[in-house]
Amino acid sequence: MDKAIFTFIDRCVACKGCEIACAVEHSRAKSLFGALAESPHPRPRVRVENAGVHSYPARCMHCEDAACIAACPMGAMTRNAATNAVYVDESKCIGCWMCVMVCPFGSVSADPVAKKAFKCDRCPDRTARGEDPACVAACPTRAMIYATPEELAAHRRQATAMNAAGKPVARVAGNVDLWRSLKGGTQK
């Protein structure tokens, strides 16, 4: 199975290190000082949101049956064949915002300056070098991990063992699991 970013929401301390790392990674300079000098300032594609008593670094889930790809009338919303990540081919995007209209997570936004759809691309340059995406690498509490589902399961077993030893266990948030747990209406 391909790797995905999994989130342990109890671990997030809302330091916003992921936001900064994301903005820097997607800047032209790829350094904090260089990024600060760029105009417009590079913006993060991950956003730390309030999640009840926790915080949640919200970003694209790279859905298997991605609504944004079906909705894009320019063939701009694309799946990277190598990493399976969904990204915007900016040379094709016309900023029609259909993808913004259909993303059930609110994870594609409209960049009003570039007039291009704006979202997480899961750092293709970094992952091609075998590194974790910038947000994952920057997180000081390991609230996000970039792993295959099998690796995640191993990680959880380890966490459970730690819990048995009296250490706290984190809750994990994959993508659809959270929707399933939402109270109210059922999906047809």
Binding site: I9, D10, R47, V48, E49, N50, A51, G52, V53, H54, S55, Y56, A58, A67, A70, A71, P73, M74, G75, K92, I94, G95, C96, W97, M98, V100, M101, V102, C103, P104, F105, G106, S107, V108, S109, A110, P112, K115, R171, A173, L178, W179, S181, L182, K183, G184, G185, T186, Q187, K188
Partner: protein, 416 residues
């Protein structure tokens, strides 16, 4: 298995791809009235505007059909369907050919409505904005055009108006009803759009039904509205689209406004499916609707394509009714109903957002100036999520998916 697909738009291509993915050997034949490969009509206004080059409209090339082993009859309209003989007639007169099918998909889309306004039909310089040929016609006329009238203020009319302004024309939009975007926005929202159009030089006239198109074989010279003549050398008629049912005569396929389909995209006739702008299906709330937008065409096409290969293996979760348009770069979006029991609002920085709620659930939204997270609100409506516990956060700038993550029970030592 012989599959015949009428059409070459997103519904048709999505179906062909889905069928081919499941069955490498089935015969697939596509028939299209237009001679060109699959293109997207959505950026036609941007093409007229010259911000999107013509080659970017094409989403597949000729090689695609060869690679997918699809037989094509392009440039030839389907003219009749015999559901008993299981044949489609292509072309007419001595050119006509009969194509037998085992599964048939009708994905021939909608047509632009041309109301019976005297002079509208047949006067050179009058166009719809529906097909590539329409857009090419407008582009060819631009060098000789100074003033344009756009009839209708739906999203295609407004996109056309902006494109023509940006090509240097003086543009008047005439709308029969009392506001612009009448299908999409309430009066308050529409007033913001009208102001923005006027600020960018568009002469917007509401309560102004077009009465006649004047001119002759030399071309259009004016549009008469309320007894007054608006001089022009180009007219774009954009009063809406309607499923094109002309090819169904005598087929026994049941229709209302569109072809009636169930959740499998089946029509009432055996082995005949339909998808895209031509269908009247069920929306996510179970209402019969005609909702001619791109995502519905792609998703419906995929369902039909899968079911043509393996019957009833895929079912449609329902058509979406979502609208988004840019008014001189400012995004405006809506979905659902604006007539909920209550309305939440956020206004500031040139942005106006309204959410309609009924029984603690989102039933509709209208956004002017900022459309981010529209999909999330739409999903709250589709899932029927009770938003009561976070209602006050809904329109705050920090609202996001995180706010929906269920709160875990407090650890006992804290709760105590």
């Amino acid at each position: 298995m012989k599959i015949v697909i009428i059409g070459n738009g997103p519904a048709a291509v999505a179906a062909a791809e889905a069928a081919r993915e499941l069955d490498g050997h089935c015969g697939i034949t596509m028939i299209s009235k237009e001679a060109v490969p699959f293109y997207s009509p959505c950026p036609l206004a941007e093409y007229v505007e010259a911000s999107v080059p013509r080659d970017h409209l094409f989403l597949r090339d000729e090689k695609f059909y060869r690679d997918q082993d699809i037989t094509t009859f392009f440039g030839h309209p389907a003219t009749a369907i015999g559901t008993t003989a299981r044949r489609v007639t292509v072309g007419s007169g001595s050119d006509a050919a009969e194509l037998p099918y085992e599964r048939l998909l009708i994905a021939s889309g909608a047509r632009a409505i041309m109301p019976p306004i005297p002079g509208l039909a047949g006067t050179p310089g009058v166009f719809a904005l529906k097909t590539l040929a329409d857009a090419d016609g407008i582009v060819a006329r631009l060098p000789a055009a100074r003033r344009a009238v756009v009839i209708g203020s739906g999203f295609i009319g407004l996109e056309a108006a902006q494109a023509l302004v940006r090509r240097g024309l003086a543009v008047t939009v005439v709308e029969a009803l009392s506001q612009v975007l009448p299908q999409m926005l309430d009066a308050e929202m529409a007033a913001l759009v009208e102001t923005r159009l006027r600020d960018h030089g568009v002469d917007v006239r509401v309560n102004s039904p077009a009465e006649a198109v004047l001119g002759g074989q030399a071309g259009v010279s004016a549009v008469r509205v309320g007894g007054q003549e608006i001089p022009c050398d180009l007219v774009v008629c954009a009063v809406g689209v309607r499923p094109d049912l002309s090819l169904l005569a005598g087929s026994g396929i049941s229709t209302a406004t569109g072809i009636l389909v169930n959740e499998f995209m089946e029509t009432n006739q055996p082995d005949v499916y339909a998808a895209g702008d031509i269908v009247e299906g069920f929306d996510r709330q179970g209402q019969r609707r005609v909702l001619p937008i791109w995502p519905n065409a792609v998703n419906g096409g995929r369902i039909a394509g899968g079911n043509m290969v393996a019957a009833r293996t895929r079912s449609f979760r329902g058509l979406d009714g979502i609208n988004v348009v840019r008014i001189f770069d400012l995004p405006v979006a809506s979905f659902g109903s604006s007539a909920g029991e209550r309305s939440l609002r956020y206004a500031g920085n040139g942005i106006l957002k309204k959410l309609s709620l009924s029984s603690g659930r989102v039933v509709g939204a209208q956004f002017f100036g900022d459309v981010n997270a529209t999909g999330l609100y739409h999903e709250l409506m589709n899932k029927g999520v009770d938003v009561g516990s976070f209602e006050s956060e809904l329109l705050s700038p920090g609202f996001g998916y995180g706010c929906l993550i269920p709160r875990p029970p407090l650890p006992t030592r804290l709760a105590a």
